[in-house]
Amino acid sequence: MFEIKEFPLLKETIYETTLSNGLRLIVIPKKGFTKQFAMYATDYGSNNIRFVPVGQTETVEVPLGIAHFLEHKMFDNPNGENVFEQFAKYGASPNAFTGNGMTAYYFVSTDDFYENLHILINYVNSPYFTHESVEKEKGIIGQEITMYDDMEGWVIQKNLLQALYHNHPVRNDIAGDIESISKITHEMLYLCYNNFYNPANMVLVTVGDIDPDEVLEHAEKYVAEDKRALAVGKVVKPVIDEPSEIVKPYVEAYMDVARPIVMYGCKDNNVGYTGCNLLRRRHAVDIALELFAGSESDFYNDMYRAQVVDQSFEYGYTGETEYAYAYFSVETEKKDEFLAKLKEYIAKTKKDGFLEESFHRVKKSFLGDLIRVFNNVNSIAIHSTYRAFNGTTLFDYYDVLNSITLEDVTAAFASLFDEEHSAVSVILPTVKEA
């Protein structure tokens, strides 16, 4: 039986249930859409490098980048047939991604949805890792890592996180590095797989012009084919001991870029939120940042006119249960002025606060952003999966957003920034020899 959540304003419904094997299933019907999208995901990502295996007491540590490596190797199958080939017969395009906190496998189809769903569930439930296949993958992933090493936006963020965090694995690249992946073995992949890829730790999300009861019926049938002998119980993710202090206030690197790039980041030690409280914290900060640095803000417009910032200016907030940080970045010839003015405006805003009318306008536009998500089958599925691991749904956002007050936003801004917990990451253009 489904638990049904309706959102009359948007004319959308979410169907949720738990299958007999313990797997959560979420179905969001989208009448009239051509595409179907299914995502099978585990609450396990690049951050989970230390864990206590099911039924054991000792913490084990595995190499950085292993969750991502495992994701790549899920595409091999015991019968030797490549997963891409299986989906190709039905015209579906499969893909996968690894994040800091989750790994997701998905496909987009326009026909034969249930055949494709069968393949998805079956291949993620059928690990097949060998010494040879693991060694072979190191070349491919090595090139993926090298590709990111040449992307300045990626490098500047990684350097910032390494300046902010001492111990938390978020300071590392999701894919790890060439050295860490060289240590990965097929035994390690099985260890991670067996602990994190069990139904209780996973979720299946399907979106499209599909019938929830039919999806349920098929999904039950497919998970019943599961031949894995998985240990029963929950893997323990130890609490990471991360001091509130930063590592260092400044980090720089040289790359072949047109002009300097600067990123200012602040470690937010106000963490530990979960569920709707986490959502609330995150969106209070999002509204604060939009008010402070969005295109209607004094900061952005004053800096734009002074040619300190341009369209390359970005800002954002990552707010998770264990870690949170805010950042501002820009490509600019005037990086010192940018940093000085940023601090000056932050101090001024802390003192003056935000205008009530501006606050209401930003809330209104955020509501528009929520409605927009429902235009796209892929975004509905990705957002829903992510929310499922955080114990919320796509609809909770609406109530949370409505409940946020100007005081919440002002308080969030005031608590977010302080000099002591901030760091600067800079990329400078490589000096060319004459």
Binding site: L9, L10, K11, K31, G32, F33, T34, K35, F84, E85, A88, K89, Y90, A92, S93, P94, V108, S109, T110, D111, K136, E137, G139, I140, I141, G142, Q143, E144, T146, M147, D149, D150, M151, D256, V257, A258, R259, G294, S295, E296, S297, N301, Y304, R305, Q307, D310, Q311, S312, E331, S358, R361, K364, S365, L367, G368, I371, R372, F374, N375, T430
Partner: protein
């Protein structure tokens, strides 16, 4: 749901409105496209949308614009230039939440059309020209944007290949203009070019969403008033038959090399064999089961990125890879072997089936995205073809292995560009 190519509603000579009613979306979008030539004014063309987006008579600066857009439930607005073949196209777009999902006194759709009118026709001015400070700032920023293309090594190396392959050709010009020219923008000329384009260049307007055609037509007619105008000459690229392969390279401070190869197909979207070319590309390097993906990546482990793409305007095809620089020869040889294999008829039933099915899925999925629907239609109009996704799907289905072998034999390698390190 299937999208047919909408019949244009002719608002004036060479001013066409295309309405795409589709009830599945919760937003409505209006896009205005104005093509220009990549001529001596191309830097000015690129600058105009950016200057217009700075302020209108009613909303004289960005702050005022942004506040207005937030009041419209976070309406999205874009003003920029894009390149399609030898044309530089000014694009103005606005997206709003469909009126049925919000409680608003004034229709968001009408307000969106009104804002688009203000953006295109009613710029804030001083002394009869664009505001000087806006021009100076936007010129500086555009120049920075051009110079920063080098930051994205994949984009930069693709641009370099295209230029090495087509020296001096208009269609290889940077869509954002010439960096040096942006140092000395003539404000009189800028305003003159703007006025001339708004008055003389063809206009195509697209509206997509859960809309009523008659009502939308009224709204557009009332707000976006473009008079009769001429058309631009159709673009028919001259076929090129390379006699030898050009090898070019550049050294940069990079960790990964980019090996890109350009081929001549001399088949544009209008060519009778165009759909066969698309299927050749799927088998060669377009899809997840293509020869390039399977052999260069999966079998040889040489790269993470490898794919090929068709340029439907200029009759070219490109292969893009990211490799360890030491593996240049190895990767190059394997890529060449894959093309040769197709020429030799080595296409399995599976490769053929996968190519057709994967492409069909992508084509059908176009109907689930407003942006893709509009782009599919508009790029085809510029390419001189009128085809629905369904018609294209039909054509794809009839392509045979023999067709693909035939196409492979007609493709000629032209230029190899390698971005490497010191």
């Amino acid at each position: 749901m299937r999208m047919n190519v909408p019949e244009p509603i002719v608002l004036a000579k060479n001013v066409n409105l295309y309405v795409m009613p589709c009830s599945i979306f919760k937003t409505t979008s209006i896009n205005v496209f104005i093509p220009t030539e990549l001529d001596d004014d191309y830097t000015y063309h690129a600058l105009i949308p950016n200057v217009l987006a700075r302020g209108t008579v009613s909303y004289p600066d960005r702050k005022a614009i942004k506040r207005h857009l937030q009041d419209l439930y976070g309406a999205t607005v874009a003003a920029d230039v894009r390149k399609y073949g030898n044309k530089q196209v000014m694009s103005f777009g606005v997206g709003v939440i469909d009126d049925q999902y919000i409680q608003s006194e004034d229709s968001l759709l009408e307000q969106a059309a009104r804002f688009l009118r203000q953006l295109i026709f009613e710029p804030t001015t001083e002394n009869g020209l664009f505001r000087q400070d806006y021009v100076v700032q936007e010129a500086y920023n555009l120049k920075q944007q051009i110079l920063s293309i080098i930051n994205d090594k994949a984009e930069y190396s693709a641009m370099r290949l295209n230029r090495e392959m087509n020296p001096g050709k208009v269609f290889t010009k940077c869509v954002f203009g010439d960096a040096d020219e942006l140092d000395n923008i003539d404000e009189n000329r800028l305003f003159r070019v703007y006025k001339s384009i708004i008055a003389n260049n063809p206009v195509d307007i697209f509206v997509a969403g859960d809309v009523d055609v008659a009502r939308v037509t009224e709204i557009i007619k009332n707000n976006l008033v473009f008079g009769d105008r001429g058309s631009l000459p159709e673009y028919i690229p001259e076929p090129v038959y390379p006699t030898e392969v050009k090898y070019r390279q550049e050294k940069m401070d990079v960790k990964q090399g980019k090996l890109n190869i350009g081929y001549r197909t001399n088949m544009t979207a209008q060519h009778e064999d165009y759909c066969k070319l698309l299927m050749f590309n799927e088998v060669f390097g377009g899809g997840l089961n293509s020869k390039l993906f399977m052999n260069v990546r999966e079998k040889a482990s040489l790269c993470y990125t490898v794919y090929s793409a068709v340029d439907k305007f200029n009759g070219q095809l490109f292969v893009y890879t990211g490799i360890e620089t030491a593996n240049y020869q190895k990767a190059y040889d394997i890529i060449k072997e894959q093309l040769q294999a197709i020429i030799d008829g080595d296409i399995s039933d599976f490769e053929m089936e996968a190519a057709v099915k994967e492409y069909r899925t992508r084509l059908k999925a176009v109907n689930d995205s407003m942006a893709q629907m509009v782009n599919f239609c508009y790029s085809n109009i510029l390419a001189g073809v009128r085809i629905s996704t369904e018609e294209q799907e039909q054509k794809i289905r009839s392509v045979t292995k023999a067709d693909i072998v035939d196409i492979a034999g007609r493709i000629a390698e032209d230029t190899v560009f390698f971005l490497t390190n010191n």
